[in-house]
């Protein structure tokens, strides 16, 4: 089984994000890190691959207009076999649909039996890419998985819902999106880190995939969110608990 895992590379969350004042795009340094939410997808892929043994491989897929590889190396160090990097300046500022077209084309080209993605990224978080990719590829989308099993050549997942979960089954090839509750991502090992530098990373452009980047989305304005208000302080005069209950009732918590 050929498993392809989407890994988005994002600016290091440890340093503050900057928006370009003209385009409102996130200013992206050339070295971006692995989006934490994609570590879960990588882990699911590695566990499936371990289970399937020799016949399985794990390939990473990342679209990064500036050609960052740092985040890819992080995921390779966890144990993936290789990576496909879509590096193309014309994709800078690509909207979700363009991103999905690129990822779908690359997954098809790689003959993926299973494409795994996060449910939503940390920086863009439109949360639409996995479903769009499945639609473009014409394959089932198994989304919001909190548990993944491979049974009789099919995928069975527990799909996280507000009330609990649904059990959903789908045939391969398919797109799978996983939540951060699905598995505990492994740490890369020292050997994994050393091996990552010699693993193959195939670099492609939009043209190689037959996709023309047309940006149909424009960010017209960006506003700061309202700062959090200071909380109410209730002085306890022995009856403070009553006021707290009142408050909780007001906001309908109790």
């Amino acid at each position: 089984m050929k498993i392809v895992v989407c890994v988005k590379q994002i600016p290091d969350p440890a340093s503050p994000y900057q928006l370009d004042p003209e385009s409102y795009f996130v200013v992206r340094p050339n070295d971006q890190v692995l989006d934490d939410t994609d570590r879960y997808g990588v882990e699911v892929a590695l566990q499936l691959s371990d289970e399937l043994g020799e016949d399985a491989s794990v390939t990473l897929l990342s679209m990064s207009p500036g050609g960052s590889q740092q985040g890819i190396r992080q995921a390779l160090a966890m144990g993936a076999d290789g990576a496909i990097l879509i590096e193309d300046e014309t994709l800078r500022g690509a909207d979700a649909l363009t991103t999905s077209q690129i990822l779908a084309a690359a997954a098809t080209r790689a003959e993926a039996d299973l494409l795994i993605a996060g449910t939503e990224s940390t920086d863009g978080y439109t949360g639409v890419v996995p479903q769009q990719v499945a639609e473009i590829m014409g394959v089932p989308a198994l989304t919001f998985a909190r548990k993944v099993e491979h049974v009789d050549g099919k995928l069975r997942i527990e799909r996280q819902t507000q009330a609990g979960y649904d059990v959903v089954e789908g045939a391969l090839p398919a797109v799978l999106s996983v939540t951060s509750g699905v598995v505990e991502p492994r740490y890369p090992t020292f050997k994994g880190i050393m091996q990552a530098k010699s693993k193959p990373v195939e670099t492609l452009t939009a043209a190689d995939l037959g996709v023309t980047a047309k940006v149909s989305q424009k960010i017209v304005s960006v506003e700061e969110v309202e700062g959090r208000q200071a909380g109410d302080i209730i002085e306890d005069d022995g009856e403070g608990y009553l006021r707290i209950i009142e408050k909780l009732e007001e906001v309908k918590v109790v």
Binding site: Q70, R73, Q74, A77, Y187, P188, T189, F190, K191, G192, I193, M194, A196, K197
Partner: protein, 381 residues
């Protein structure tokens, strides 16, 4: 000269830091309070490849460099000095002599489990009669009786010697006139008595015991490498270990600076953050300089070792400077935290207690100054 770590070193640092932040930081205070040696941390460090990082792939090592080990020790030490010394001693004192001087049979027998973190090794040099003059103070004797060494004597302050996964202790012993050899003693050998753990000022979660050898018999082939090479072997082992203790110290200085910065920006006095006072800010500026200097001395010594160049002086400088800077750093941190710094509810008090030993183990500051003076050609005794 660029003074840049490569991408793999940075990736290793990120990995170890995340591991330490998640698995060590939240528990370190409790382990310290309970004097609890968390054996699963050793297993996990083994799984991550930290114990074997710098050694032969033939025995399951990582085939990496010594600088990588130093980065790992620094990052673990930044979270907790007890776990930092556990890693440092496991690699520098436990694995190193066997990997460097052991026969291929000895390596094949002990190294795979040590690299994987399934077992731990210790190195017994110091005796009740003294550690600085280790050669002169050695009283432990090993006598060949047929095809067995019979060992009698005792060792003091031996790290990792009494854990539930300790597999082997390499000990130095007199084996003839003016002759010291190192002998591998498997844990559990009859006649090897592991004394109760010491009550220590710091490093509470690290394992330290005195050892007694009472007609302790091991096979003749347990001689480490060549007979009579014990003195040379432990000097070389200590040189490597000094760089690693430098790294452990760097981790502590970093932890102190991070915490002092955070607290001094939040804490207010006289209507302003305490960090706005030069008297306080300048201490942190000095701490920053000390951190950089300690790190550079340590990394340079490690790089010299990786390049196969002489390291005696560089290792002594790194350990001397970094350990003394670490002790100062904990004093500054405690001062910046005021009364809270003296309380066991935060890590500062633990750091303060843990720091002092850095100036003592694997060569006291005085002994290191002696080494450096001699390196300068001074006729110092």
């Amino acid at each position: 000269m660029t003074f840049q770590l490569n991408a793999e070193h940075e990736a290793l640092r990120a990995m170890v830091r995340e591991f330490a932040d998640r698995e060590i930081v939240p528990n370190a205070a409790q382990w310290d309070r309970d004097h609890h040696f968390p054996v699963d941390v050793v297993h996990k460090m083994g799984d991550l490849g930290l114990l074997g990082a710098a050694f032969d792939e033939e025995y399951g090592g990582g085939g990496g460099d010594f600088l990588s080990v130093c980065i790992a020790i620094e990052e673990i030490g930044r979270a907790d000095q007890s776990m930092g010394i556990t890693l440092e001693a496991a690699v520098g004192l436990g694995i190193n002599p066997i990997a460097n001087f052991g026969t291929s049979e000895q390596k094949a027998r002990w190294l795979p489990d040590l690299f994987a973190g399934r077992t731990l090794a210790a190195f017994g040099l110091t005796e009740p009669g003294g550690g600085s003059d280790a050669a002169g103070a050695t009283r432990t004797r090993a006598v060949l009786d047929g095809d067995e060494w019979v060992i009698n004597g005792s060792k003091s302050f031996i790290t990792n010697s009494g854990t539930e996964i300790t597999s082997v202790i390499t000990v130095t012993a007199i084996t003839g006139d003016e002759e010291i050899s190192a002998i591998i003693v498997p844990a559990g050998t009859p006649g090897l008595i592991v004394e109760p753990a010491y009550e220590k000022l710091g490093w509470h979660a690290s394992d330290t015991h005195g050892l007694v050898f009472d007609d302790c018999r091991v096979p003749a082939e347990n001689l480490l490498g060549e007979r009579g090479r014990g003195f040379h072997q432990f000097l070389a082992t200590l040189d490597d270990g000094r760089i690693a203790v430098g790294a452990l110290s760097v981790g502590l200085i970093q932890a102190c600076l991070d915490l002092a910065l955070e607290y001094s920006l939040e804490r207010e006095a006289f209507g302003r953050p305490i960090a706005a006072n030069q008297g306080l800010a300048f201490q942190l500026a000095d701490l920053d300089v000390a951190l950089e200097a300690a790190r550079l001395l340590t990394y340079k010594a490690a790089a010299l070792k990786d390049a196969g160049l002489p390291i005696k002086q560089a290792a002594a400088r790194a350990k001397l400077y970094a350990s003394e800077a670490a002790v100062s750093a904990t004093r500054v941190l405690t001062q910046v935290l005021g009364g809270y710094g003296f309380m066991e509810e935060g890590p500062a008090a633990r750091f303060y207690r843990d720091a002092k030993i850095l100036e003592i183990g694997e060569g006291t500051s005085e002994i290191l100054r002696l080494v450096i003076s001699r390196g300068l050609g001074l006729p110092v005794v």
